[in-house]
Symmetry: D2
Subunit: 157 residues, 4 copies
Amino acid sequence: MAKVLVLYYSRTGNTKKMAELIGEGVKKESADVDVKDVKEIKVEALLNYDGIIIGSPTYYGTLAAEIKKFLDESVKFHGQLEGKVGGAFSSSANIGGGNETTILSIIEAMLIHGMVVQGNSSGDHYGPVSIGAPDDRVKKQCRELGSRIARLVKRLG
Amino acid sequence: MAKVLVLYYSRTGNTKKMAELIGEGVKKESADVDVKDVKEIKVEALLNYDGIIIGSPTYYGTLAAEIKKFLDESVKFHGQLEGKVGGAFSSSANIGGGNETTILSIIEAMLIHGMVVQGNSSGDHYGPVSIGAPDDRVKKQCRELGSRIARLVKRLG
Amino acid sequence: MAKVLVLYYSRTGNTKKMAELIGEGVKKESADVDVKDVKEIKVEALLNYDGIIIGSPTYYGTLAAEIKKFLDESVKFHGQLEGKVGGAFSSSANIGGGNETTILSIIEAMLIHGMVVQGNSSGDHYGPVSIGAPDDRVKKQCRELGSRIARLVKRLG
Amino acid sequence: MAKVLVLYYSRTGNTKKMAELIGEGVKKESADVDVKDVKEIKVEALLNYDGIIIGSPTYYGTLAAEIKKFLDESVKFHGQLEGKVGGAFSSSANIGGGNETTILSIIEAMLIHGMVVQGNSSGDHYGPVSIGAPDDRVKKQCRELGSRIARLVKRLG
């Protein structure tokens, strides 16, 4: 059975809420999902998943240090994530506040791990962006990302 | 007297409207400003300005081909724009629709020309983003960018 | 049978040479490949391929205007490239000369089309970069990209 | 007198070596310079400098977690770095290994602080990149960055 991890760091709760919504989207496709705070998981766990979705608040235009530390540590499994599916999302205080560059900083790390990433032609193209707390638009984007990743994992089977 | 160019490409009129608002901001700082459609200017004109602000709609996450063509042609003056001040802006259909990466694609071109770029700590950090037609928030961001660039040009004077 | 397009723009011949090497890599995986100059193809052709690899020289840190024009025109098939596999490459005059941002500008366009992109954990992570004419290192990177894309297309089959 | 900080994180010593070379470039322009490991400085110190140059090894395509942590903490002085001059550099294992995106991740943070950044029309455009230990090309780029930042600080005086 396809297994997906939704990993996040959250201070205000907005990124956590997005993570939970993405988890719902994964489940809708009948895939297994774990939604985890970066503080409650070890980097070894990455090996257990077929899909890895990472979310961070927008801090100075890139992923939060807490997420970056986790990714820097993942170097000890460098090469072993090759071919897994990845996705990214971010919450942000403002439009134009660095949210897209934050999502891309996560996608770049995933590409460097040799992971497979898909964009979205009809919504938030690189990954869901929430300006403040998730509204209905964002909720839909998040659920869709979860479902999209689950489907891609199964397609790559 | 400080001279600033606001250069844009616009199909729907949104980017043009942003350009005009930025022009207002430049004037407020008692600097000279020309607001020009990319189709009505030759690349040679870049040499006449102390500050150059470029705007593009968000097409596939980077500047429109019409603007890129202009920048690719600017290579014949490569090195001669060194030290001039630059700024960028974009209009976009959606939040998370590639607007920040579009602005950064313009900023990257400016850095490669050796130009000087400043961010904004309190608004749209890389440059103004309009989702659809400029609303009051965007209008303020645009006027502020014009004023900010004019002040930086004078400070570097 | 898996069909892959390698599309390029080239002035000096370096990007063209990279495209041909990538084509060799695709063939090695027994997939069909067309290697085309952007000037000799219509945007409609994109619909015929399962994998699309795009290369551009590094001009001011993003894809050349000729490639951007082609991508801007592809908007008329927006949504129809969803789920196809993408890859990107660039030739550049210098290390640190904007080659990675050029490759990312292509990848960003592919994500906005909803395409599937994979990085490489062991070589040029985002896509092959040639500094000047392709040397042995670059030749290997290019052939590997072609093979990698062909394999991913077949895996997604 | 113009004061410039060169701040780095380094594990192998390559980024540290680059920092020292940049420091030499600053001194050549008769400006004051401090070259500091991120572990030996507090975020409060940023307020004391007119120019801030930050270097990081290339870890998964963005700045190292140690540097990001420092920048995330700098939020308590958000707005107070507005108008200061910034610069960035990176050492990397490979060409195409994420070095440009690492430099841009630092530049993006600086723009979000409202800082002033200048590119280089004739060398490593966004900032110096070293592939492995700094060779003669890189040494020149580093010294030039230091001098360039010092001159811009004085010009903005």
